[in-house]
């Protein structure tokens, strides 16, 4: 018997792979996205010459393809950045639980930090499609690292940018902006120091999307486990999105 299908393995064709900021690249891939059901899910990519796959969160998707945004941080992403248009990649698609938009209320706050901005894009799109009015606060180190500012604005969201050095938007961190906002719920993805600041200042319930070094990405190896108030969870399978109430800091 086959368990209800959840994730799939598919071959995707690279449609675009471009440098969009600092060491940040945007890759658009064409292929079967039917396994993606929620914003905040991720794909696991086989990169030539490397044993383990690379887990990358989905920035946006439609029925024909998906967009990934990644930063060159090591040898694997270095090779990824050189992949050319028309190359065919082996992906596991539809991984992770993704964000639950049903709890957002009318005015949800989306907080992205660095690479954590990427999954906020499709989330923002979905919330707007549901008739909600999201506020987006995206934090970066410096103006050269900023990406998707106009894309978020084009969706019709209220957008704030912060940079640590003040070269774009508000000088400081995302929480320097979020502390002055009123919102019904929050969604966030970004580095751990930002998470701790968000946790310390958040005014409502919310969801955090975590990052962890993974083996398989689909729940088999227990490489990315974490302890929560509701028991042990695998970041790749039971996450990456955890609710504020269950997280042990």
């Amino acid at each position: 018997m086959l368990i209800e299908e959840k994730y799939i393995q598919e071959f995707f064709t690279v449609d675009k792979n471009e440098n969009i900021a600092g060491d940040v690249y945007e890759m658009h891939l064409l292929g079967n996205t039917s396994a993606i059901t929620k914003p905040g899910q991720f794909v696991n990519i086989k990169v030539d010459g490397f044993y383990l796959r690379r887990p990358i969160s989905v920035c946006d998707y439609d029925s024909e393809g998906l967009t990934l945004i990644y930063k060159v941080v090591g040898n694997g992403t270095e090779v990824m950045s050189k992949i050319e248009k028309c190359a065919v990649l082996d992906l596991l698609v539809g991984l992770g639980n993704g964000f639950d938009t049903s709890k957002s209320g009318d005015r949800p706050l989306l907080i992205g930090g660095g690479m954590g901005v990427a999954p906020m894009y499709n989330l923002c799109k979905k919330l707007i499609a549901e008739g909600k009015k999201p506020i987006v606060v995206n934090g970066f180190n410096s103006a050269k690292d900023v990406y998707y500012e106009n894309e978020f604005k084009a969706l019709g969201a209220e957008v704030y940018i912060t940079t640590a050095d003040g070269t774009n938007g508000t000088k400081g961190f995302v929480t320097d902006v979020t502390k002055n906002l009123d919102y019904t719920y929050f969604y966030t993805c970004g580095p751990m120091p930002m998470f701790k600041a968000v946790e310390a200042t958040a005014k409502t319930s919310g969801q955090f999307s975590f990052e962890e070094r993974m083996g398989c990405g689909f729940g088999a190896c227990m490489g990315c486990s974490c302890e929560t108030k509701y028991g042990n969870k695998r970041i790749c399978k039971d996450g990456p999105v955890l609710e504020r109430e269950e997280i042990i800091w």
């Binding site: 368990i3 086989k46 490397f50 044993y51 962890e212 083996g215 190896c221 227990m222 490489g223 974490c226």
Partner: protein, 303 residues
């Protein structure tokens, strides 16, 4: 039609391909993708007396042609495995399953094996005396013939199902450990578990995995595994299950020529979740290529 069947302690497997413990959970994540009843069987997630969270993260490091893991035997404990995991497993796997058991004392091995032995779905018990991840734990039993024999004897005394002892490669003389297990009553030997390894991050200048050391697996260790299976086959008369870096039908045949009656596939499942299915599907073609009609005929053929 080629014949891929093998017999493991009186139970016939449709083919010798068995996903290795720790790389296949309880099969559920793979049953989302394909009907896992095509497998010979599978060895489920290493189970201990009490629930364990395991080691701190990060637990995974990539290597050339392989990976290091320091999961540390995370599992929900034997009660939960018997009452929940095995009940759920019935919905999507109808063959006898191999139960992988670990422990940190003779009493724990005995307790867990007793509980597992009563589960009707369990065909074989695979006793891990070799997990290198847990300090002061399994490692000590696998490293000397005496300790290995002690576990074997204790487990055999409380079980009726065939007991396979899974050996560590991190020893001076693998054949003597295998022989000691056979003499203590083991029904078979599984080998090899992971090799102790380490990776260091050049940017942070620290070990990649939080536990510093971990078990190295993947295609890189295949030649080591073939050699040890060959040595153990010569040392014992009981069946040997060979594993370590197996990733293709050719690897399965090579492992069987070295002396394996059945073959486990580990790390390959994590990179390609269809690995075992693909190996099983390509096995008949590979057999024809090498002029093999009956797979069981080639066991130990290289000796």
């Amino acid at each position: 039609m080629v014949d891929t069947r093998v017999v493991l302690s009186g139970i016939t497997l449709d083919n010798p391909v068995i996903p290795a413990s720790g790389t296949f959970g309880f099969g559920r994540e793979f049953a989302e993708l394909y009907d896992i009843n095509c497998l010979g069987t599978f060895s489920f997630k290493g189970t201990t007396k009490d629930p364990r969270f395991g080691n701190p993260t990060p637990r995974i490091a990539e290597c050339s042609m392989g990976m290091i893991n320091s999961v540390g035997l995370q599992n929900p404990g034997v009660e939960h495995v018997v009452n929940h995991e095995l009940k759920e497993l019935k919905e999507y796997f109808s063959k006898p399953v191999m139960a992988n058991v670990s422990g940190f004392s003779i009493d724990e091995y005995v307790y867990t094996c007793q509980k597992i032995n009563d589960a009707e779905q369990v065909g074989w018990i695979e006793v891990n005396i070799s997990c290198p991840n847990v300090h002061g734990g399994g490692m000590s039993f696998g490293t000397t013939p005496e300790a290995a024999a002690e576990v074997t004897k204790a487990v055999k005394a409380v079980t009726t199902k065939p007991v396979y002892i899974k050996l560590s490669p991190n020893v001076a003389d693998i054949a003597s450990v295998a022989k000691a297990c056979e003499d203590a009553g083991a029904d078979g030997i599984s080998l090899i578990n992971t090799l102790l390894g380490m990776r260091i991050d050049l940017k942070t200048k620290k070990c990649v995995v939080a536990n510093k050391m971990g078990g190295f697996s993947g295609p890189a260790i295949f030649p080591v595994a073939v050699r040890m299976v060959y040595q153990v086959y010569e040392a014992v008369k009981i069946p040997v299950i060979g594993m370590g870096g197996v990733s293709s039908a050719d690897d399965v045949i090579e492992m069987m020529l070295a002396g394996a009656t059945a073959v486990q596939v580990g790390a390959a499942n994590l990179v390609n979740p269809f690995a075992c299915k693909e190996i099983i599907e390509t096995l008949p073609t590979a057999m024809k290529k090498y002029g093999i009609e009956k797979l069981s005929d080639i066991i130990g053929g290289a000796h």
